[in-house]
């Protein structure tokens, strides 16, 4: 009961002050995953976003902004609830932050129909890139298949003939293998779906060894990836069969937990800390200075999301009353992305270069990614044609 009175009073207060102060900061709602095992992903997206604000002294594109952050706990229902609160109580018009596709599928279709602009800094489910695309939905990271496609192309280019595929048994896992196979032209030695959240891969590794592939492609995000890579190395497989995957299992924080076992693994990414452009140099240095750790690709995506919003806010002078003007401004993508060239395709998903990186041990003893080569230039996703926009 007391909670109710307090919240009601607070809300009343907010709505009054909102009317008086005309130049109140633009509110941006961030629904992200800070708890559970995957909490560090949301943490990096948030920290990347905040960094962009801090570098401008609490503003984006010269417009004062206020960032509201809440933790969805990787639960779609919770994410939905937070989004509703942001819309109804705080009057948020711009949202961002969701890490996982299943949370995105619960939140995004509804909020964009209600007139909120959603900028995705991570998840890019195919349903939202194709038939379900929407003028209020922008993706500043990638469509889910993109990084897998890059690895598929790399495998074809490198002449691999017989590759073993492994992913968790859930939609993003199936999309991953689809994406890989779209560009990989060789033979599939085996295709295995593991339990979501599985921790021990001994059984899969034994079957994998018996299939004698010439390389392994796997998609196991987060802790699942740590487990798999460590066990792969312990089984001595890293010396026999090359391992490749998307960047999700090789971000900077994960590599620290995997150690030497990951060295030599090739992975696809749209960004790396060693990409040479001014925006990236500034970002990597500022991130390390502020947070005392190397940025991950998630942090780069959070940072780019903030910079994209900033570029559009600047064009409309912080005025969100005309949403179509704001959308048009966003569509221009008039900001210097840390990954270099960046623009939106017809479905408002990225058109960008994608690279392969290799995990190396530096002379200083750190384990990190080094960019090897550009696999795709101006790559578009496969679903844009289905989008009626």
């Amino acid at each position: 009961m007391r909670g109710f009175i307090v919240t009601a009073a607070l809300a009343a207060l907010c709505s009054i002050s909102g009317n008086i102060v005309a130049s109140a900061p633009v509110k941006i709602g961030m629904v992200t995953t800070l708890s559970t095992k995957a909490g560090y992903l949301g943490e990096d997206i948030r920290d990347g976003f905040r960094l962009a604000m801090d570098l401008e002294g609490g503003m984006l594109g010269g417009v004062p902004v206020e960032l509201l952050v809440d933790d969805d706990g990787r639960d779609p229902g919770k994410g939905k609830q937070i989004a509703e609160r942001f819309m109804q109580r705080d009057g948020v018009k711009i949202m961002t932050g969701i890490v996982f596709s299943n949370v995105a599928m619960a939140v995004v279709p509804k909020v964009v129909r209600d007139g909120v602009i959603y900028i995705s800094p991570n998840a890019g489910p195919s349903a939202l890139a194709g038939k379900g695309c929407h003028e209020n939905y922008f993706n500043v990271a990638w469509q889910n298949d993109n990084l897998h496609e890059a690895v598929g192309q790399y495998a074809t280019d490198s002449g691999f003939q017989n590759i073993y595929l492994l992913a968790p048994n859930y939609p993003a896992g199936k999309d991953a293998l689809q994406g890989f196979k779209r560009y990989y032209k060789g033979n599939v030695a085996g295709e295995v779906y593991t339990k979501l959240g599985q921790s021990d891969y001994a059984g899969e590794l034994a079957a994998l060894r018996a299939a004698k592939p010439d390389a392994v492609f796997f998609f196991l995000p987060g802790g699942m990836g740590i487990n798999f890579i460590k066990q792969y190395a312990q089984a001595g497989l890293n010396k026999e069969i090359p391992l490749m995957g998307p960047a999700f299992s090789f971000d900077q924080r994960l590599l620290k937990a995997v150690g030497d076992a990951a060295v030599g693994v090739v992975n696809g990414s749209q960004w790396n800390h060693d990409l040479e452009n001014d925006a990236n140099l500034l970002f990597v240095e500022a991130f390390e200075k502020t947070y005392g750790r190397m940025p991950t690709l998630y942090a780069s995506q959070g940072y780019d999301a903030a910079r994209l919003i900033g570029s559009a806010l600047k064009q409309v002078g912080g005025d969100l009353s005309d949403m179509s003007a704001f959308r048009a401004a966003l569509r221009k993508a008039d900001f210097a992305s840390v990954r270099g060239a960046f623009k939106f395709g017809s479905n408002q998903h990225p058109v960008q270069d994608i690279y392969v990186r290799e995990v190396v041990r530096t002379e200083a003893g750190d384990i990190t990614n080094e960019t090897r080569k550009k696999v795709f230039a101006n790559h578009r996703d496969a679903y844009a044609a289905e989008c009626a926009m």
Binding site: G3, A9, G77, Q81, Q88, N102, A106, K110, N169
Partner: protein, 331 residues
């Protein structure tokens, strides 16, 4: 008049008035989010009350109650999926078209949840105690993995609904209308539960909780009584699932996850087990606490954990027992 009883009436009366007036209060306060929040509270309250029927009154500790919530929600989701898709629900043995009407979908969902509860209960009730906890968990986990593997219906991503179900004259898409529908559902279920608990049937079930052998020797087939009770609880949970799916316009396997069942148990215990109002208070307390605490610190779990231990150790009868200062209703 017994002072405790009048206090109880006072609590109930004020609570009801506040709930009835809430949409108006929220509009006056300029915070429409309160309507959404309290709709959720009412829905969780409904699920918690249904769970309390078996835990508090029947002594059957189920760690799989979220499965029935999930089944109810999935019926709504699957039917909505076929409506959006324009495809038939089934083509064999006869053509069956999908529906979006409340009057068709909701009873179907409740019926299916209740039947699944009857099926699962029939097997699970052969065990008791710890084994009962685990076997209900086992069935819930099987259904969870089944939902994850339903590729057509989005697998782990779930189903996004394009609109709420349709009712003649009333637009459920309006949050205020929907709030009142939730309130009505909860009140009806509370009324029916109240009648049930204090009926002959209810006495047998409660008797079986205290001393099953004695009830059996008195000639009551307690297994059948408990099974019916379990199915009714399943129906209530199914209705909660239907409302949940409509409220969030989204269905996913996370609804069936065992932690969700755990949350429902926490609500029942926090509010006061073996009472009908307790679970309602528990659901409200839990959801409000989450709202308030998570606004202060992202590490709010570090407070929630010890708080739960504290409740168990020092406030055994839950919020309701503490408020009314009396013992548990059923005793």
């Amino acid at each position: 008049m017994n002072p405790a009883l009048s206090l109880r009436k006072f609590v109930l009366g004020t609570g009801l008035v506040v709930l009835l007036l809430l949409p108006i209060l929220a509009t006056v306060a300029g915070d429409p989010y309160l309507i959404t929040l309290f709709s959720r509270i009412l829905i969780y309250a409904l699920a918690a009350v249904s769970l309390d029927l078996i835990i508090g009154y029947g002594g059957m500790v189920s760690l799989g109650h979220a499965a029935f919530v999930g089944i109810g929600a999935y019926v709504v989701g699957i039917l909505a999926f076929h409506m959006q898709d324009g495809s038939a629900l089934a083509s064999w043995p006869f053509e069956l078209q999908s529906s979006n009407a409340v009057l068709v979908v909701w009873p179907a969902a409740i019926l299916i949840s209740a039947s699944m509860a009857a099926l699962i209960g029939a097997v699970s009730l052969r065990t008791r105690g710890m084994q009962f906890i685990m076997i209900t968990l086992a069935f819930a986990q099987m259904l969870f993995y089944l939902a994850v593997s339903l590729e057509v219906y989005g697998g782990d991503d779930g189903i996004s609904l394009w609109s709420r179900n349709e009712l003649p004259l009333i637009d459920l898409g309006d949050d205020r209308a929907f709030y009142y529908i939730c309130l009505i559902c909860l009140l009806i279920f509370l009324y029916l539960s109240d009648r049930l608990v204090f009926s002959r049937f209810g006495r047998v079930v409660r008797g079986a909780k205290v001393n099953e052998l004695r009830m059996q020797s008195l000639g009551f087939p307690t297994y059948r009584y408990k099974l019916v009770c379990f199915s009714i609880a399943g129906a209530g949970a199914g209705l909660a699932g239907v409302l949940m799916a409509n409220q969030s316009e989204f269905v996913s396997p996370s609804l069936l996850h065992w932690t969700h069942s755990g949350e429902l148990i926490v609500m029942v215990l926090l509010g006061g087990m073996g009472t009908l109002i307790g679970p309602v208070l528990g659901a409200a307390a839990m959801l409000l606490m989450e709202e308030v605490l998570s606004a202060y610190t992202e590490h709010w779990m570090v407070f929630l954990g010890p708080f739960l231990i504290f409740v168990v150790l020092f406030a055994k009868r839950g919020i309701y027992g503490w408020l009314s200062g009396t013992g548990v209703e059923s005793e």
